[in-house]
C-alpha cells in the first residue's frame, strides 16, 4: 500500500533538515506537534480495531457482561463464510456497488465534459449540482422516503405523469424488485457530483497544446476524444471509482433511513446486516468477525485496485 498516489504526493515535498535555533529543538517540537494526533488515532481507531480482532475469536455478547467469555477459535469466521444469507447480502452489496458506480461515472463524466465547454454561468450551475453531496445521508434518505410514497410522493407522481401509469400502482420501497433501484437512484442523485468534480479536475489538467497538436495532424474531434481525452482522464475516473467504492461499501445511513434493509432483506447491505448482528441481536463476537472480514475485503480490493491504478498512471 506504500506506493499509492496519495503517499507519492506526500513524497513530493521533502522535509527540511532539522535545525536547532532558539527554544526547543526542532525534533522536540515535531514530536509535541505530531504526538497528540497519533495518540488520538491509536486510542480511538487502532485500539478498538485490535479489540475487534480479539473479540472476533470469542462468543462475547455485549448485552451480557457477566457471562464468561470463551475463545472459540475460528468458529465465527467459519459460520459467516458458510452462511448463505450473508452471501446474499454480499451479492446485494455488489449489485448496489456496480450500478451506483456505473451510473455515477457515466452521468458524472458527461456532466464534467459539458461543463468543461465553459458556457456562461457554469460556475453557478456546478455549485447547485454539487449541493446534494454535502447533505446528511440520513436526512436525505428520510426525505426521499417521503418522495417515494406511492400515494402522495412526488417521485411516483412524476413517473406516472410521464408513463401514464397509476402512481399508486408501483411501490418503490415496498416492492422486492424496485427497492434496490430506489437506493441506486438516491445514491446516484447524491454522489454523481463527486465523480463530476473529479472528472472536471481531470479534464482541466489536460494541456491545450495536446489538442492543438492533434488539430495540426488533422485528427477528427471524435478521434481526439478517444485518443486524448479518454486516456488522460482514465486515472481520474479510476480514482473516483476507488473513493466511491470504499464509501459505498460502508454505506449505512442512507439505506437505514430509506428502506431499513427491507422489504424482506432485499436491500440489506452488509453494513446493515452487521449493525443488526452487533446492536440488535448482540452477537458481539460474531459481528466482530464479520466486521473484520468486511474490513479485510475493502483493504484487499483497494490495494489491488491501487496497484492497477498506478499502472494506468505510468503509461
Amino acid at each position: 500500500m506504500n506506493d499509492t498516489p496519495i503517499s507519492r504526493a506526500a513524497n513530493a515535498t521533502p522535509p527540511t533538515v532539522a535545525r536547532k535555533i532558539k527554544g526547543l529543538s526542532d525534533r522536540a517540537i515535531a514530536w509535541i506537534f505530531v504526538g497528540p494526533t497519533i495518540f488520538l488515532l491509536l486510542a480511538i481507531n487502532i485500539f478498538p480495531l485490535i479489540w475487534t480482532i480479539n473479540l472476533s475469536f470469542t462468543n462475547f455478547r455485549a448485552n451480557r457482561l457477566n457471562r464468561e467469555v470463551e475463545y472459540v477459535g475460528l468458529r465465527n469466521y467459519e459460520r459467516i463464510l458458510t452462511d448463505s444469507d450473508i452471501w446474499l447480502n454480499m451479492q446485494a452489496t455488489a449489485h448496489f456497488l456496480f450500478w451506483t458506480i456505473f451510473f455515477q461515472v457515466v452521468i458524472g463524466f458527461t456532466l464534467a465534459y459539458l461543463i468543461n465547454k465553459k458556457f456562461k454561468g457554469n460556475d453557478l450551475w456546478t455549485t447547485i449540482i454539487v449541493l446534494p453531496m454535502m447533505l446528511s445521508p440520513a436526512v436525505v434518505g428520510n426525505f426521499w422516503k417521503f418522495l417515494y410514497q406511492p400515494q402522495i410522493g412526488l417521485f411516483n407522481y412524476i413517473i406516472a405523469f410521464f408513463t401514464g401509469k397509476e402512481p399508486s400502482s408501483f411501490e418503490m420501497l415496498g416492492s422486492v424488485d424496485l427497492a434496490p433501484w430506489s437506493i441506486v437512484i438516491v445514491d446516484t442523485w447524491m454522489w454523481t457530483p463527486f465523480v463530476m468534480l473529479i472528472c472536471l479536475a481531470g479534464l482541466r489538467s489536460i494541456p491545450d497544446y495536446i489538442y492543438e497538436a492533434a488539430e495540426v495532424d488533422r485528427a477528427s474531434k471524435l478521434r481526439q476524444f478517444f485518443t486524448i481525452t479518454i486516456p488522460m482522464i482514465l486515472p481520474f475516473l479510476m480514482l473516483a471509482i476507488l473513493f466511491r467504492g470504499i464509501e459505498n461499501f460502508k454505506m449505512f445511513d442512507l439505506v437505514v433511513q430509506l428502506t431499513g434493509g427491507g422489504p424482506g432483506s432485499t436491500t440489506e447491505l452488509t453494513s446493515i446486516n452487521l449493525k443488526r448482528e452487533a446492536f440488535e441481536k448482540w452477537r458481539t463476537g460474531y459481528a466482530s468477525a464479520y466486521a473484520i472480514i468486511l474490513f479485510v475485503t475493502v483493504f484487499g480490493l483497494a490495494s489491488i485496485y491501487v496497484k492497477a491504478l498506478n499502472k494506468v498512471k505510468e503509461r
Binding site: A9, A18, I21, L41, T127, V130, M134, L154, Y211, L274
Partner: protein, 312 residues
C-alpha cells in the same frame, strides 16, 4: 487574447452543453425544493393527492417541530385565549403548547459536538500538518498513510469496542465522547488538507523570522498561521460538515443526552404517523447551514473531498 484557439468550444456546442447541464441542475434541485416547500405546508396539504405545488403557506410545521402539544378542555381554551401567533396555530386543533420539543436540544448538541470536534481537529491537525510539512520526521510517509487509512474503516467495525470502551470510561452518550470520536475521524482530513496548504507557504518567511531571533514556535504562530488562515478556514468547514452530517456513530453510541439532530429528525411523529411538514422543517433548518457553506466553499470543494489527492 483574441488569437484563434482550437480548444475553445464553438458557440453552438456551448449552448448545447449549457442547456443540458442546466436541465440536470434543475432536476437535481427538485427533491430539495420539494422538502423546503413541504415545511410550509399543513399536514393535509403535505399528503394530498395529486401533490400540491400551490398551497396556502403555514408555519405549522415549524411550530410542531419546536414544541410539544397537548389537548385541552373546552373550558380551559375558552378561559385562556391564545397570546401569540404560534399558540394561535396550535389552537386550530384544540391543542395548547406544553413545552419545547427535543429538536432544540438535539440541534444544540449538533452545534456543540460539531464545533467542538472541528476546533479540536483543526488545533491538533494544524500542529501535526506543520510538523509533517517542515520537520524531518522518521517514517513520515508511513505515518501519513496510517493517518489516512483510519478513514477507510467502516464505522460499524470499530463501533462495538468503542461502545464498550466508552462505557468503561463513562464517556458513552456524552458530548466529550462524541467530540473525541468525531475528532479522530476528521483528523485524517485535517492533517492531509492542512499539510497541502502549509506546503505552499514559502519556507523563506519563517527562515527570515528565525534569523530575526524568533523561536520556532513564535515563527509558527506569528508567521505561518496567518498565512494559512484561508486554508485553515476551509478545512474547518469540511470537518464541520462531516461532524454535522454524521449518523452511524450518533445512532449507535448515543441514546439521548448527546444525540445530534440526524437521528432525531426522521422520528418526529405527528397524530397519524410521521409529521411530514415538521420533518421537512427540521430537515430544512438542518440543511441550510451546509448549503450556505457549500456556496462559500466552492473553490476548495475538490481538494476537501479528495484529501487533495487530485490536484486542481
Amino acid at each position: 487574447m483574441s488569437s484563434f484557439s482550437v480548444t475553445e468550444p464553438s458557440k453552438s456546442s456551448k449552448w448545447f452543453a449549457g442547456t443540458l447541464v442546466i436541465t440536470y441542475a434543475l432536476i437535481t434541485m427538485i427533491p430539495l425544493a420539494w422538502i423546503m416547500l413541504t415545511g410550509f405546508k399543513s399536514p393535509s396539504d403535505a399528503i394530498s393527492y395529486p401533490p400540491k405545488v400551490f398551497f396556502e403557506p403555514t408555519l405549522e410545521g415549524y411550530v410542531n417541530l419546536f414544541t410539544t402539544r397537548t389537548r385541552q378542555t373546552d373550558e380551559f381554551l375558552a378561559a385562556n385565549p391564545p397570546e401569540n401567533w404560534y399558540e394561535d396555530i396550535v389552537r386550530q386543533y384544540d391543542m395548547v403548547i406544553a413545552g419545547p420539543s427535543k429538536f432544540g436540544e438535539r440541534f444544540l448538541n449538533s452545534v456543540i459536538i460539531g464545533f467542538g470536534s472541528t476546533f479540536l481537529s483543526i488545533f491538533l491537525g494544524t500542529l501535526a500538518a506543520y510538523a509533517f510539512s517542515r520537520f524531518k520526521i522518521p517514517l513520515a510517509d508511513d505515518l501519513l498513510f496510517f493517518i489516512l487509512s483510519t478513514r477507510m474503516m467502516p464505522p460499524i467495525a470499530v463501533a462495538i469496542p468503542i461502545f464498550l470502551m466508552y462505557r468503561q470510561l463513562g464517556l458513552s452518550d456524552t458530548h466529550l465522547g462524541m467530540i473525541l470520536l468525531y475528532t479522530a475521524v476528521n483528523i485524517s482530513l485535517a492533517v492531509w488538507l492542512l499539510k497541502g496548504f502549509i506546503d505552499e507557504i514559502p519556507r523563506e518567511y519563517e527562515e527570515a523570522a528565525l534569523i530575526d531571533g524568533y523561536t520556532r514556535f513564535q515563527a509558527f504562530y506569528k508567521v505561518v498561521l496567518p498565512q494559512a488562515a484561508t486554508g485553515i478556514a476551509s478545512t474547518a468547514i469540511f470537518c464541520l460538515i462531516f461532524a454535522w452530517n454524521e449518523y452511524a456513530f450518533a445512532v449507535l453510541l448515543t441514546s439521548g443526552t448527546a444525540q445530534t439532530a440526524p437521528p432525531f429528525i426522521p422520528t418526529i411523529i405527528g397524530v397519524g404517523g410521521l409529521d411530514w411538514p415538521a420533518v421537512a422543517a427540521g430537515a430544512t433548518i438542518f440543511l441550510l447551514p451546509v448549503m450556505i457553506f457549500t456556496v462559500a466553499l466552492r473553490k476548495h470543494l475538490l481538494r476537501g473531498i479528495t484529501f487533495g489527492a487530485v490536484r486542481k
